[in-house]
């Protein structure tokens, strides 16, 4: 039993994506930027599940399954890169990640 419309779920999903996008753009701490990236991924999975539920198909659900798996791998590798960077430069602020600049 679902009461809300598909439109409502898509709006919530898009709003979450927009908030994550804002966080990626305005925050300086790499860890928080990474958290906001995860938020954007979760927002997209919400849209997929909503589409799947309202159309009575299984494809969106299975795709979310794969997104969860790949996101777990991505977080592990991303955090390892951040730790490796911190070892070299003693900071995780994006302003200091400028080795390729100029």
């Amino acid at each position: 039993m679902i009461a809300a419309t598909l439109n409502a779920y898509i709006v919530i999903s898009a709003l979450l994506f927009a908030i994550g996008f804002l966080g990626v753009l305005v925050r300086r701490n790499t860890l928080i930027i990474f958290m906001c990236l995860e938020l954007m991924l979760v927002a997209s999975t919400l849209a997929l599940v909503a589409f799947s539920r309202f159309n009575g198909t299984m494809d969106g659900n299975v795709f979310v399954f794969f997104i969860l798996t790949v996101a777990a791998a991505e977080v592990a590798v991303g955090l390892a890169i951040i730790v490796a960077f911190f070892r070299k430069r003693q900071t995780v602020q994006v302003d200091h990640i400028d080795a390729l600049k100029n």
């Binding site: 009461a3 994506f17 938020l39 999975t45 589409f51 299975v62 969860l68 777990a72 791998a73």
Partner: protein
């Protein structure tokens, strides 16, 4: 009642998501991410995707947020010494957010998504048998590939986090 639950979880999720962006402290931001994921899992339950709600809590709230907290505490980054981001960068970010939010608003006000009425379709996501049926027949190759990706990620993390000894 059903609509109240949707509104509650949706509002809770959006407020916690804003908390991630607005919190100065990285530990508090990770806690907001945790609450936000719990809200999304609630929305999944409202959409009858019980397995995915459970997996979201298990993988994201359990493993990923714990990993984030672990790294935040390990690195122990004290803010305050770095200068604030320039007003131009902040303004550009806010403009981009405003554009996306305007898109959301137009979707909410004028969007006409061609979907069947709520509840007219069967809740296929509630059936574990259907997941197994799909994952082990149609999506067997992607399942194998994802397993391989996890293996590569594990090896990659071990290589990345190895202490450089200078030898070799």
């Amino acid at each position: 009642m059903a609509n109240f639950l949707f509104l509650f979880f949706a509002g809770f999720t959006v407020v916690c998501a804003a908390g991630i962006v607005l919190n100065r402290n990285a530990v508090n931001a990770a806690m907001c991410l945790l609450l936000c994921l719990v809200g999304v899992a609630g929305l999944f339950v409202r959409l009858d995707a019980f397995l995915l709600a459970f997996l979201l809590l298990l993988v994201y709230a359990g493993a990923v947020v714990a990993l984030f907290l672990f790294i935040v505490m390990l690195l122990d980054t004290k803010g305050g010494t770095t200068p604030a981001r320039s007003a131009l960068a902040k303004g550009a970010g806010l403009v981009a957010f405003a554009l996306l939010a305007a898109g959301v608003a137009s979707l909410a006000l004028k969007g006409r998504l061609a979907a069947p009425a709520a509840g007219s379709e069967p809740a296929v996501g509630a059936s574990l048998k259907l997941y197994a049926d799909q994952l082990f027949t149609l999506y067997l190759l992607p399942v194998e590939i994802v397993g391989f990706i996890l293996l590569i990620a594990m090896i990659g993390v071990i290589v990345l986090s190895r202490k450089e000894t200078g030898a070799s």
